[in-house]
C-alpha cells in the first residue's frame, strides 16, 4: 500500500536547492495542486526540469514568477514571458533542450542507461561542447541521463498500490518522469481501491506518495 498524504506533507519533503521534475504539457496533465503547495511553502533555489513553464498565472509558471527557480531545464518557454525576461536579465539560468532529447535523457536515467545517441540537434548549437559519434555513417550527439531528487506528477486515477491511469493527453512527460527521481509524488484526480491491471499506465512500484486532489 502506498502512502496517501496531504499535499502539504508531501511537498514539505522538498527542501531548498532540490532538483525537481514536474510533469505536464502546458496546463494539461500538470500536478497543479502540488505546485501550488510548492508556491505556498516558498521552497527556494530549485532546479526545475519540465517541458515548459506554462503561463505566468498557472502551476509551473508561478514558480518562475515567484523566483523560486534558479535553474530551469526545459524545451519551450515561449508561453511565459517572465521566463524569457528572467533569462535575459540573468536571474534565471535556462538550459533549453529539444523536447525529444529531454524525454530521452530522463528515460535514460530511469531505465539505467549511461545516456543516449540522438540525431536531433546535429549541425546546430545543441551540438556544442558535446561528444558526437558516427553510427553506420550517420552522426549522433551523445546526451547524458537526467534525474532529479523529486518528481511531481499527475495521474487521473491512482489506486492504493500506486498504479496510475490516464485520461486524454494528460500522460505527456508524467510517465517518464516517474522513473527518474529519488522520490515520486503523484497527484491523483481520484483515488480508487484497485485499477483494472489493463488500464495501468505507470506501474505502482515507481510511486512513493499519493496526494488526492480535493483532499487536504
Amino acid at each position: 500500500m502506498k502512502r496517501v498524504v496531504s499535499a502539504k506533507d508531501a511537498i514539505s519533503l522538498i527542501k531548498d536547492n532540490a532538483t525537481i521534475m514536474i510533469g505536464g504539457f502546458l496546463e494539461c496533465g500538470a500536478p497543479d495542486l502540488l505546485v501550488d503547495e510548492l508556491v505556498k511553502q516558498k521552497t527556494q533555489n530549485l532546479t526545475m526540469i519540465s517541458n515548459d513553464t506554462t503561463y505566468p498565472h498557472a502551476d509551473k509558471g508561478r514558480l518562475i514568477v515567484n523566483k523560486q527557480v534558479k535553474k530551469l531545464i526545459a524545451a519551450h518557454i515561449g508561453t511565459n514571458p517572465e521566463t524569457g525576461r528572467q533569462m535575459e536579465s540573468g536571474e534565471l539560468d535556462v538550459e533549453l533542450v529539444p523536447m525529444g532529447t529531454l524525454i530521452e535523457k530522463i528515460r535514460a536515467k530511469g531505465t539505467g542507461l549511461g545516456g543516449v545517441l540522438t540525431p536531433t540537434g546535429v549541425g546546430t548549437v545543441i551540438e556544442k561542447d558535446k561528444k558526437t559519434m558516427e553510427v553506420d555513417g550517420k552522426k549522433f550527439i551523445f546526451e547524458k541521463p537526467l534525474g532529479a531528487d523529486f518528481a511531481l506528477i499527475y495521474g487521473t486515477k491512482v489506486d492504493k498500490f500506486g498504479n496510475v491511469s490516464y485520461y486524454g493527453t494528460t500522460r505527456n512527460l508524467n510517465t517518464v518522469m516517474a522513473t527518474a527521481a529519488e522520490t515520486v509524488i503523484v497527484q491523483a484526480d481520484e483515488l480508487v481501491d484497485c485499477l483494472d491491471p489493463n488500464e495501468v499506465v505507470i506501474p505502482g512500484l515507481f510511486i512513493d506518495y499519493v496526494v488526492v486532489k480535493g483532499e487536504k
Binding site: F25, L26, E27, C28, G29, N51, D52, A74, A75, H76, I77, G78, T79, G84, M87, E88, V94, L96, P98, M99, G100, T101, I103, E104, R107, T118, P119, T120, G121, V122, G123, T124, V125, I126, T156, Y166, Y167, G168, T169, T170, R171, N172, L173, N174, T175, V176, V201
Partner: protein
C-alpha cells in the same frame, strides 16, 4: 538563373495574359491580406499529402493546413503532446481540459485516435514514422537548413519539439510568408541559430514554391500575381526555375 526556364515562363505568361493584366501587379503592390496569404500557403501545403499520411503540423499558420485537406482524403494528424488523430476544436460550451493539441488548444480525439505519452510521441517523430510535417520558420536557406526557435537577445521561445520533428519526419515542408515585414527569410545561409541542418524538402510561400534539391533551390511554382523580378527581389537565396514551372492556385 536558368535562362531557358525563364523564357518558358515569359512565354507562358504571355499565353495566359498575366503579364499584360494590370490587376495582378496592382494587387501585388497593394499587398495581399494576411488572410489571403494564409489561405494561399495553407491550401498549397495541403496538396502535399497523400491518402493515409500521418502528418504533424506546427503551431500558427501550419495549423490552418488541416482546413484544406480534401474531404474524401483521410489524413491522420499527430500532436507531440500525445494524440494521434487530432480532431476538430472542442465545443466551447463543454470544454474538457484533459485533451489538448500541442498549441494548448482544446481539441477532440478523431474517430480512430489514440493517446500516448511523450516518449511514444517522439518515437513517432524522431523515429521516422511521420510522413510529413508542415512548420513555419524565421529563415530557410538554400541548403535546406532552417532557423525557427530563437532570435538572440530578442525572442527565445525555445525549440520545443521542432528539432526532433524536422530531423525525423519523412518530408519537411516549410510553410511561411515569403518575407517578414520586408525582411528576407529565404536566404543563402541562415544567420540565426539553426533548428536543423539540411532537413527541409519544400518551401511554400504566398509567392512561390521551392523544392530543396542537392543542387540548391528549384522554383517549381509561382503565384501569377507576382513577377519573376518580384521573387528575385524578395529572395536572398540563389534558385533555379523548373522547366515545367507551374502557376500556384490562388
Amino acid at each position: 538563373m536558368d535562362l531557358t526556364a525563364e523564357k518558358t515562363l515569359q512565354k507562358r505568361q504571355q499565353i495566359s495574359g498575366y503579364t499584360t493584366n494590370p490587376i495582378f501587379h496592382s494587387n501585388k503592390k497593394e499587398g495581399l491580406s494576411k488572410e489571403k496569404i494564409r489561405e494561399i500557403i495553407a491550401k498549397r501545403a495541403a496538396k502535399e499529402f497523400k491518402e493515409g499520411d500521418v502528418v504533424t503540423l506546427g503551431i500558427g499558420l501550419p495549423t490552418a493546413v488541416a482546413n484544406y485537406v480534401p474531404e474524401n482524403m483521410h489524413i491522420i494528424f499527430q500532436s507531440e503532446n500525445g494524440l494521434l488523430g487530432v480532431g476538430k476544436d472542442q465545443n466551447k460550451e463543454n470544454i474538457d481540459k484533459r485533451i489538448i493539441n500541442a498549441g494548448g488548444g482544446y481539441v477532440e480525439a478523431a474517430y480512430g485516435a489514440c493517446f500516448y505519452d511523450s516518449q511514444m510521441a517522439f518515437t513517432m517523430m524522431r523515429g521516422g514514422h511521420i510522413d510529413a510535417t508542415v512548420l513555419g520558420a524565421l529563415q530557410v536557406d538554400e541548403d535546406g537548413s532552417l532557423a525557427s526557435w530563437i532570435i538572440p537577445g530578442k525572442m527565445v521561445p525555445g525549440m520545443g519539439g521542432s528539432m526532433d520533428l524536422v530531423v525525423g519526419a519523412q518530408k519537411v515542408i516549410v510553410a511561411m510568408e515569403h518575407t517578414s515585414k520586408g525582411q528576407i527569410k529565404i536566404v543563402q545561409k541562415c544567420d540565426l541559430p539553426l533548428t536543423a541542418y539540411k532537413e527541409v524538402d519544400l518551401i511554400i510561400t504566398e509567392r512561390c514554391v521551392f523544392e530543396v534539391t542537392h543542387k540548391g533551390l528549384l522554383m517549381t511554382e509561382i503565384n501569377p500575381m507576382f513577377s519573376m523580378e518580384d521573387i528575385k527581389e524578395s529572395t536572398g537565396a540563389h534558385f533555379k526555375i523548373a522547366q515545367n514551372l507551374k502557376y500556384m492556385e490562388i
